[in-house]
């Protein structure tokens, strides 16, 4: 399990809204705490990573969050520019403006081009050993397969040209389980778990990337064991609530509201547990599943990321 952070490239993905950015940011923080030079990259620059680290804008060239931890946002135009300069050695710097705009349309039409520039940039950082670990806050379920499959898939459409000749070394990095892994994040709910299971299957079928870990995020605490549950049932009865209300000099209705909330908490947890069970059944036994607790307090910003990183550190 410790091997998760000993990899070089981690793609964190899952259904939208399950906390991908939070988990990616926490993994990055944890790695940096372990003295690894770490890069965290947000593939869809919505500003979530910047909000998570509370570090201001995270440009393509990177923003230092803390010693050893850098955050960046993917920008395929900038990636193309870097690629042209470094690898293709095309002297275009002056006039790339219109090229980039046109590129946008071309990239829309030609599948895999945008994806290869995304994955290519990340693999490049790994290959050049600029960082010990690159954590990718990757796209949601729908798009991530396309990105990870791009290096092998691009050959179908692009028969010649520089981009094609660049795919071999990327594939080598992506396919090595000791180097690269996917982390699927889910929550204990129906749709996120279904998508996680589906994604785990598609990763194996359609991409070279190995599934390294599944993170079940926002898992509610178990309130009662069996004996407690029986006592809870008796406590919820009219007589007991009245006794408690009298003792606390409060309204019976207020006591009932408190017990109703606990019943709801038990129900939500039980509902979630059934989905987590489905997840356990479907995911290969060799893939660890990590459980992160629901954060009842302020669930955003660096403070939350630190809490999640600590929880991850305990589990890993």
């Amino acid at each position: 399990m410790n091997s998760l952070l000993s990899r070089r490239l981690l793609f964190v993905t899952g259904k939208g809204g399950v906390g991908k950015t939070t988990v990616a940011a926490a993994l990055g923080l944890l790695a940096a705490q372990q003295k690894k030079r770490t890069l965290v990259c947000e593939v869809e620059p919505k500003g979530d990573l910047s909000a998570a680290y509370e570090c201001g804008p995270t440009p393509f060239k990177g923003q230092l969050v803390s010693p050893g931890l850098t955050a960046m946002s993917m920008d395929t135009e900038a990636s193309l520019r870097e690629y042209l300069k470094l690898i293709a050695r095309v002297p275009v710097v002056g006039r790339i403006g219109p090229v980039a705009t046109a590129f946008d349309f071309v990239a829309t039409a030609a599948p895999g081009i945008r994806e290869i520039l995304t994955v290519g940039k990340l693999c490049y950082e790994v290959r050049e050993r600029h960082y010990d670990l690159v954590v990718v806050d990757a796209s949601a379920t729908g798009q991530v397969i396309g990105q990870l499959a791009a290096p092998s898939g691009i050959n179908e459409l692009v028969r010649v040209g520089l981009i094609r000749s660049q795919t071999d070394w990327m594939l080598e990095i992506l396919a090595d389980p000791a180097t690269t892994g996917a982390v699927i994040v889910t929550t204990p709910e129906e749709m996120p778990v279904s998508e996680a299971i589906d994604l785990a299957g598609r990763l194996g079928d359609e991409t070279a990337v190995n599934l390294a870990c599944v993170v079940a995020n926002r898992v509610l605490p178990e309130l009662f064991g069996r004996r407690e549950e029986e006592v809870f049932g008796r406590l919820s009865e009219k007589e007991a609530t009245e006794t408690i209300a009298a003792r606390l000099k409060g309204e019976t209705s207020a006591v009932q509201a408190v017990f109703a909330a606990a019943r709801l908490a038990v129900t939500i947890r039980r509902d979630g547990a059934s989905h987590l069970e489905r997840l356990r059944q479907a995911i290969d036994e060799s893939v660890p599943i990590v459980y992160l607790p629901y954060l009842f307090g302020r669930a955003h910003g660096l403070r939350a990321i630190r809490q999640v990183a600590a929880a991850l550190g305990d589990e890993l």
Binding site: G17, P98, F105, Q143, V160, G161, M191, F224, E251, A257
Partner: protein
Amino acid sequence: VSPPRQAANKAGDSDRALEQLVAAKEVIVACGSGGVGKTTTAAALAAAVATRLGGRVLVLTVDPAKRLADALGLKGIGNQASRVEESAFAAAGVRPRGELYAAMLDMSESWDALVRRHAPDQKTAQQILDNPLYKNISRRFSQGQDYIAMERLYELHEEGDYDLVVVDTPPSRNALDLLDAPARMQEFFSSRLLHWLMVPYRSRLVNMASRPFYQVADRVLGSQLLGDLADFFMLFQTMRDGFVARAAAVDRLLHDLRTSFLLVTTLEAVPGREALEMKAALAERRLHLGLLVCNRVLPESLCDRAAQEVADAMAEEAGAIAEELSLSDAEMAPEITRRVLEEVAGSFSNFRQVATREAELMRELAVAHDVTVTVPYQPGHVSDLASLLQMGAVIWGDAPRPGRRKSR
């Protein structure tokens, strides 16, 4: 932007406000971030309208979960609408006044139909459909998906077979893409880029301005792909006039008085933030937000101050209460009872924090639209027509609603 007509779904009042809203509209566009229950809400609203107001109501879904598709009796993907059988309503114990139809948007079928409609002749249409890049564009062009949903909505509205069409929207990377899709489609066709890409196709004399692009593109992409692209855009250009006119018409429909938006969200931080952004974007574009549905909301009682005081006192005196209770009930071992009371009190405080955050977000969201509806958290999922109708009743405001938020 109209002032709020009704701030909460208090049974009796809000069904009138909601009834007025849906009775006056012919098109309702559901929007919101992924995973908040948008598709289910759209279907539940359509079912409620068909049941209570009557008429022919269609719900057009994009990618329903299997259970919802089953609940609606959708057999597979297809643009063909199918009627939800009378017998299915009867089995759910409901006699609808109107008819409910459901259809699932088929992206590639819709694109193909669009090409056939706008191509100048059949030969060109076939050339486009056969182009290797066409299929990639029609499937992957993310704004294209949004556009197709809106375009299909326009078509259904135009055909006039339904009194109300409720349309679910594709999960976008950016919810705003949906609103701008028709305008972007127009832009795409009028852009100089398209023109530019086709220059070398028309004449091999590449003009100076585009030369660097071709040098780079040729080197990086290869001339074969570039040729394919030019072919494709050349063919596509033949559809320009039809496409532009149509996209403008779609845009007009979205702005029409008969169209309203339904914003669905949960009150969690991320979907909540996106809902606030969506509201601002709708207002900015002068699109009418009629209905806000807050889904999976925790009960109002969690925000109750008296209950919190009881919970705090319970945590404090758990041991003493446990002792007292064990005297009258031998089954309640004091040690276990104390632990349970502490857990119950702690859990209340935890969930109260969440509910308080939710309430604050509700307050921020509940400004400047017609009707707000909250749907309480329900374990389990909408898996058949009966549960869908039950959710519809909650939205409509005539279902028994434990823990409903008070009206503001």
